[in-house]
C-alpha cells in the first residue's frame, strides 16, 4: 500500500509532522471539475497545532484541495473527489458522515472578507446559535466576547457590537470572519488566501493572530505570498499543475528545496 504513496510519510516525513499528532491525512486524492483534472493523486499528512501552508502558482489546485478538506467543493455540481481524506482517522467522504457537522468542525476563512451583513455580534453568534452551543443569552454573549478576544478584535469593536459587520475595515472584517470561525470551536481552520485583499498592516495583524491560534488549532493556509508562508507556517506544501510537488518543514522548503520546480518557484523564476 505504502509503495503507491508518493509523498513521504513515516521516517522521511517532515520534522513537524513527527513532533505533532496527525490531524489530516489525505491519500491518493483526485479532484475533477467535470472533465478537468484539478488535483492529481495527492497524499499529504497535516499535523495538529501547527500552521501548514499551501503555496504554488495560480491554478495549481491548492485552493481546490483546501476546499476538499471541508467538502466545500460539494456545492459545485460538476466537482468530483476520489481518494481518501481522513480527519482524526475518520473518512470525511464517508456516506454516513453529516457534512454540515463536518463543516462546523472545520472552520473556513475566505479570500475576501465575507461578514454577514448583520451586526458584529450576530456575525459571531450565528454559528454557536445554530449549533445550540449556548444555553442562554449570557452564555452566548460570553462565547461572542471570547471569540472576538481570541481574534484580537474585541478591543476595537467592544463599543459597537451592534454595528454592521460590513462597516468595519477590510482587516477588521477578516478578523471578524476568523472570530466567527473560532466561535464554533473548530478543530481545523482553513484559510484561503486570507490576506490577499488586505494592506500590509492588516496582513501583519492577521499573521500575528494566526501564530497565536496555532496553539489550539490545526491551521491550513493557502497563500500566494511566499514570505507569508515562510513567516507563519511550520509545514509548507508546494503545488504545481495539480500535483503536490514537495512537502516539508517550512525552513527546509525555503532553504533547501529538493525539487527543481520548487526552487524555481520560490526564487521567483515562475509563478
Amino acid at each position: 500500500m505504502d509503495t503507491m504513496i508518493k509523498t513521504p510519510v513515516a521516517d522521511s516525513a517532515p520534522r513537524i509532522a513527527r513532533e505533532r499528532p496527525l490531524k489530516i491525512k489525505a491519500r491518493n486524492v483526485d479532484v475533477y471539475y467535470g472533465e478537468k483534472h484539478a488535483i492529481n493523486d495527492l497524499s499529504i499528512d497535516i499535523p495538529d497545532s501547527a500552521v501548514s501552508a499551501f503555496i504554488g502558482p495560480s491554478g495549481c489546485g491548492k485552493s481546490t484541495f483546501l476546499r476538499s478538506i471541508n467538502r466545500m467543493n460539494d456545492t459545485i455540481p460538476s466537482c468530483r473527489v476520489t481518494g481518501n481524506i481522513e480527519i482524526d482517522g475518520r473518512d470525511i467522504y464517508d456516506r454516513t458522515l453529516d457534512v454540515v457537522q463536518l463543516r462546523a468542525r472545520i472552520g473556513m476563512v475566505f479570500q475576501k472578507p465575507n461578514p454577514f451583513p448583520k451586526s458584529i455580534y450576530e456575525n459571531v453568534a450565528y454559528g454557536p446559535r445554530i449549533h445550540g452551543f449556548a444555553r442562554n443569552k449570557t452564555d452566548l454573549e460570553e462565547i461572542v466576547v471570547t471569540s472576538l478576544k481570541k481574534a484580537g478584535l474585541f478591543e476595537e469593536v467592544k463599543d459597537r457590537l451592534d454595528h454592521s459587520g460590513t462597516s468595519l475595515s477590510g482587516g477588521q472584517q477578516q478578523r471578524l470572519c476568523i472570530a466567527r470561525a473560532i466561535a464554533v470551536n473548530p478543530e481545523v481552520i482553513l484559510m484561503d488566501e486570507p490576506c490577499s485583499a488586505l494592506d500590509p498592516i492588516a496582513t501583519a495583524r492577521i499573521e500575528e493572530l494566526i501564530d497565536e491560534l496555532r496553539q489550539n488549532f490545526c491551521i491550513v493556509i493557502v497563500t500566494h505570498s511566499m514570505q507569508q508562508a515562510a513567516r507563519v507556517s511550520q509545514l509548507t506544501a508546494f503545488f504545481h499543475l495539480g500535483n503536490l510537488v514537495e512537502v516539508g518543514d517550512t525552513d527546509d522548503i525555503f532553504t533547501a528545496p529538493k525539487d527543481k520546480r520548487t526552487q524555481d518557484y520560490i526564487t521567483g523564476r515562475f509563478g
Partner: protein
C-alpha cells in the same frame, strides 16, 4: 524581394482633423437622436397626463345646493317612533321638491315644473334620508340639506356643456309683441347676436335674428311686463354652444344661472366617488365597488403568488439539480411570462369556472387567473434577486456549519427579499392594471353592490374604466378619466414603493 511592409513608413495616429471632426459629428448626431427620442416621449406623456387630468379632476367634485327643507314630523315619522326603519319609509322626495320649487315661484306650468325638478339628482332624496336616519333629531325642524344636482346640471355648472358670458345691458331695451315673436329695440349700438338670451323684467328672450338695433326674439320664459328696461335692469347671456348641441336647454341653463347668482349651488368634493358603487346615474356612480373588487382580487393573487413564486424560485435557483428537466421548466417559465393575458383568461374560464365550477365574476377566480399571469414575473424576479446575493455569503454560512437550507433561509433569502418584494410589487401593479383575463371570467358586469367577500360578484378598477368609457353621458367620460387617475395613482404608489424598497435596501458588496 524586399518586404514592402518594412519599407513603408510605420503607421501612426496622425493629427487627422477630418477623421476627428467626423467622429465628433457622429457623436453629436447620436446625442441629438437620443434627446429627440426622449423629448417626443415626454411630450406625449405630458399630453396624455394633461388630458386625463383635465377630464378626470372634475369627477372628484360635484355640485350641491344647500336648500332649507322643513323636516316635517307628519311626512317622515307621524308616530314619533324614532325607529330608523319607520323613518326610512318616510317621504323625503316631497320636501326637497317643495323647497326647490319655492326658489322658482314663477315656474308654474306642469311641463316647466317637471323640467325644473329634472335638475335634481334622483339620489337627492336618498342623501336626505340618510341624513335624517343618522340624525333623527332633525325631525320637526328646518334643516339645511345638501341637495345633489343631476349630472347634466353638474356638468353645466362645471362649464363642460357650454361656455357662458353675461353682459350687462347698455342703454334702454324695449320688448314688444310681434305676432308669435317679440321685437327688441335698444337705443344703443347693436350688441345682440342671434342665439343671445336677453333677460328683462323677470323673463327671457332668445334672439332669433339680429338687424341693427331691432331684433326679433322668441320667449323663453314669460316676463312680468313688457315695460322698457333701463341699463342695469337687463342683461345678455351668451352661450358658446348652441342649444341643440348640449343636453341642457336654454331655460334650464337660465335656471342654473339663477342658482349660481343666488349662490346656492356649491362645488364640493364628491366623496361619493370613493364611497359608492356603480350606478346608472353618473352623479351617483362611484368606484368603491370596483376598487374593492380589485383589492380582493389582488389579495388572492398576492397570497397565492408570493409563497409559490418564492418557493419555486428558491428551489430552482438553489436546490434543483441542473439537468434537462429543470432547463425545460426554466425555459417554460420564461415563455409563460410572454403569453398574452387573454389566454390566461380563457384558461381560467375553462378550468376554474367550467371544470371546478367556481362562481362567475368572483374576485377569487380573478385572483387565481391573475396569479397564473403574475407567477412567472415573480419567479423570474425572485431568481434574479437570489442570484444577486454574492455566493460568498452562502459560503460563509456553510463555512460555520450551517446546512444548505439554513444558509439560504438565514442569509440568502433575507438579502434577496428587497429584490423579491420589488418584483412582487411590480407584478402586483401589472395585475392591478390587467383587464383582458378578467373579461373572460365574467368580471365585466354592471354591479351596484360593493362586494363583501371573495365569492361575491365583483368587477375591477380597469374593467370599471372600460365599462364607463362605453357610456354616452359626458359625466361618465369624466368619471372614466377620474377612475383612470385613481388607477394611475395606485400604480404610481406601488412602483414608487418598489423603487424606494430597492433604494433603501440596496447593498453593495
Amino acid at each position: 524581394m524586399t518586404d514592402t511592409a518594412i519599407s513603408a513608413a510605420p503607421r501612426r495616429v496622425s493629427d487627422n482633423a477630418a477623421l476627428v471632426a467626423k467622429r465628433y459629428r457622429s457623436e453629436r448626431r447620436f446625442k441629438l437622436y437620443g434627446i429627440a427620442a426622449i423629448a417626443v416621449t415626454a411630450v406625449f406623456l405630458v399630453l396624455l397626463f394633461a388630458d386625463i387630468l383635465v377630464k378626470g379632476l372634475p369627477a372628484f367634485f360635484e355640485h350641491r345646493m344647500m336648500l332649507p327643507v322643513s323636516v316635517s314630523q307628519e311626512a317622515i315619522d307621524p308616530q314619533n317612533s324614532k325607529d330608523p326603519k319607520i323613518i326610512r319609509t318616510g317621504d323625503f322626495d316631497g320636501p326637497i321638491r317643495e323647497s326647490f320649487r319655492a326658489m322658482f315661484p314663477d315656474v308654474t306650468s306642469r311641463g316647466d315644473r317637471k323640467k325644473l325638478l329634472g335638475l335634481l339628482s334622483s339620489g337627492a332624496a336618498d342623501d336626505f334620508r340618510a341624513m335624517v336616519v343618522n340624525n333623527p333629531s332633525l325631525i320637526g325642524t328646518d334643516a339645511k340639506v345638501p341637495v345633489l344636482l343631476s349630472d347634466d346640471a353638474d356638468q353645466y355648472l362645471k362649464g363642460r356643456q357650454t361656455g357662458v358670458a353675461k353682459i350687462a345691458g347698455q342703454g334702454t331695451i324695449t320688448a314688444s309683441a310681434d305676432g308669435e315673436k317679440f321685437k327688441l329695440v335698444t337705443d344703443k349700438t347693436p350688441v345682440l347676436t342671434a342665439g343671445d338670451i336677453v333677460r328683462l323684467n323677470g323673463g327671457a328672450f332668445r334672439v332669433v335674428s339680429a338687424d341693427n338695433g331691432a331684433y326679433l326674439a322668441e320667449q323663453v320664459t314669460a316676463p312680468k311686463s313688457l315695460d322698457p328696461a333701463n341699463a342695469g335692469a337687463w342683461d345678455i347671456v351668451r352661450f358658446t354652444v348652441t342649444e341643440h348641441n348640449r343636453r341642457i336647454d336654454d331655460q334650464e341653463a337660465l335656471w342654473l344661472e339663477q342658482l349660481k347668482e343666488k349662490g346656492v349651488a356649491e362645488n364640493g368634493i364628491a366623496w361619493r366617488f370613493f364611497s359608492s358603487g356603480d350606478s346608472r346615474e353618473p352623479e351617483l356612480a362611484g368606484i368603491r365597488g370596483a376598487l374593492t373588487g380589485s383589492i380582493l382580487t389582488l389579495l388572492v393573487t398576492l397570497f397565492l403568488c408570493l409563497p409559490i413564486g418564492v418557493a419555486a424560485a428558491i428551489y430552482l435557483e438553489e436546490f434543483a439539480p441542473k439537468n434537462r428537466l429543470t432547463q425545460l421548466i426554466e425555459v417554460n417559465i420564461n415563455n409563460l411570462a410572454a403569453v398574452p393575458s387573454i389566454v390566461f383568461g380563457l384558461l381560467g374560464l375553462a378550468m376554474f369556472l367550467n371544470f371546478f365550477g367556481l362562481p362567475r365574476s368572483a374576485p377569487l377566480v380573478g385572483g387565481l387567473v391573475l396569479a397564473l399571469l403574475v407567477l412567472p414575473t415573480i419567479i423570474i424576479a425572485s431568481r434574479a434577486a437570489l442570484r444577486a446575493v454574492p455566493p460568498s455569503i452562502k459560503e460563509a454560512a456553510l463555512g460555520v456549519g450551517a446546512s444548505h437550507q439554513q444558509a439560504i433561509f438565514h442569509h440568502v433569502l433575507p438579502l434577496a427579499m428587497p429584490g423579491i418584494m420589488t418584483g412582487t410589487i411590480i407584478g402586483m401593479a401589472h395585475a392591478l392594471g390587467e383587464t383582458a383575463p378578467l373579461l373572460m371570467i365574467g368580471m365585466v358586469a354592471f354591479i351596484v353592490d360593493i362586494p363583501g367577500g371573495f365569492t361575491d360578484a365583483a368587477t375591477a378598477l380597469p374593467i370599471q374604466i372600460y365599462l364607463w368609457s362605453d357610456l354616452p353621458e359626458i359625466a361618465f367620460q369624466s368619471k372614466t378619466a377620474g377612475a383612470i387617475i385613481v388607477l394611475l395613482v395606485f400604480l404610481f404608489v406601488m412602483n414608487a414603493a418598489a423603487i424606494l424598497l430597492r433604494k433603501r435596501f440596496e447593498r453593495r458588496w
